[in-house]
Symmetry: C2
Subunit: 284 residues, 2 copies
């Protein structure tokens, strides 16, 4: 199997490593618009070769769009157009983006829609670029397949095999629910981390203090604030309405804490913390 990977960053690169190493792909054909990243990806060995998009589409059995969601939105119809022109009915394209409604809507009536499988492997680190790629990134995590009834069963099966090789557990959801749930569980955590980093950098003028005191839990809470603006700007715009709703609830919770602390109301503070502690049941 030849797998084309468009975007050899953290996600695309990590996928390339493990599907090649574990025998799912015989050859990885990379596409990478940034020349430095392209050279690095070849040097590191993420791709067997780097080509233009057209050549990659012609030669790959599966194409993985692992680019920020704004770019994916532009490329996905072009890829399906190319499949149509090539009469390549067995080729499959997947995306790995964090928002799904805009993407699936953009190709809903495309004659080759059934060759597209919308996927979201829930894995990552706060780093990006080919240097950040690593083996095992996906192992043990969940991959969401969206609107899979709109893809051909054959395409879905192929993609399930790919994620099985990555040791991911597939779950199924429609795009609209996907975007709601990722706003609740993933997107909001990034925003709270960004705001936390900004706050601490603003208030604490002495970087040495931040470094010294970071072991008090700060570094894990702020980890996501290192995430890439290229990736996160389009996610937050595309998932705007869901994200705003969860932000409003979050700001209300902060205000309740603020009020309880301002009033030195120990009972109220304790109740709020105990309410938050319910998360222990779910996250080990």
């Amino acid at each position: 199997m030849k797998v084309g990977i468009v975007g050899l960053g953290l996600i695309g690169g990590s996928m390339a490593i493990d599907i090649k190493r574990r025998g799912f792909a015989d050859e990885i054909i990379g596409v990478e618009s940034d020349p430095v990243n392209a050279a690095a990806a070849v040097k590191i060995g993420l791709a067997d070769r780097v080509t233009g998009l057209q050549e990659c589409l012609e030669q790959s059995d599966i194409v993985v769009l692992s680019v920020p969601v704004g770019a994916a939105l532009k490329m996905l119809p072009e890829v399906l157009d190319a499949f149509s022109r090539m009469k390549a009915e067995d080729k499959v394209v997947i995306d790995v983006c964090s928002t799904k409604e805009h993407l699936t809507r953009a190709v809903k009536y495309h004659p080759c829609r059934s060759q597209y499988v919308a996927t979201h492997p829930m894995a990552g680190t706060e780093y990006s670029g080919p240097w950040a790629a690593m083996s095992g990134l996906f192992d043990g995590n969940v991959c969401i397949l969206c609107d899979s009834e709109e893809s051909s069963p054959k395409a879905v099966r192929k993609v399930e095999q790919l994620y099985d090789v990555l040791n991911m557990r597939a779950i199924y959801m429609n795009s609209s629910n996907h975007d709601v749930h990722t706003a609740y569980v993933s997107h909001i955590s990034h925003i709270t981390s960004f705001a936390l980093a900004q706050t601490v950098l603003d208030k604490e003028k002495d970087e040495k203090h931040i470094f010294d005191l970071a072991s008090g839990g700060f570094s894990s809470t702020v980890r996501l604030a290192k995430s890439s603006p290229d990736m996160w700007t389009p996610i937050l715009v595309q998932n705007r309405d869901n994200v705003l709703r969860v932000m409003d609830t979050y700001i209300e919770k902060m205000q309740s804490f603020r009020k309880a602390i301002e009033e030195s109301d120990e009972d109220a503070i304790r109740e709020l913390i105990e309410d938050a502690n319910r998360i222990r049941r779910i996250i080990r």
Copy 2:
């Protein structure tokens, strides 16, 4: 050296393990008001024996108050009173609490003030109780010594040796600065985590979804939300003014994000994320 540890939870218990194992203490004399925790601490081997407070004070060379800061505020003057009654000029007491101004103010004019060293080892996990104690908890982290000029040089030296055995790097600060900096870097991260947990639990009614999607960065951001209300309620009350100031800045940052997202203003979102990304310079 006999070390008395009052409160055999995460911090006291972890300290007990390593100062005994590494030869700083010949004997650990524990005090633990909760009978279940006391029995567990002996069974796990955190303390050689568990006694009443009075017996512990009589027999220990150094006494560690590792109880929540509300309890420490009550006990610290009692310990110094006991030292005074015993004419035990060589005994030393330390606390390990996360706020310092109230504590140091409470004993500022105590005749035995110089036998007290205010310390804050910046280490911990989100778990609590004797079961959470572990070897190596403090290794490589910072310990803040507050107002050390008000302690006798001999007492300070003894305490520096203790933290050196725990592989901690000592830094020195006055109590008031300590409380400002910990509000900025540590206390705010706990509040943002508590509010995040509450938000996700409120919005996401299906716990299975939280579990499945948590690998998207949520679990590290929400980790601190498992922290104990017994420990955190008094910290937030005692450090109220500093905490409120940093919360206000934080809520402003969240509002800026909210506005940029509401307006789908990609440039503004990108700028906010890039501003947050400055944290990369400081936290690896």
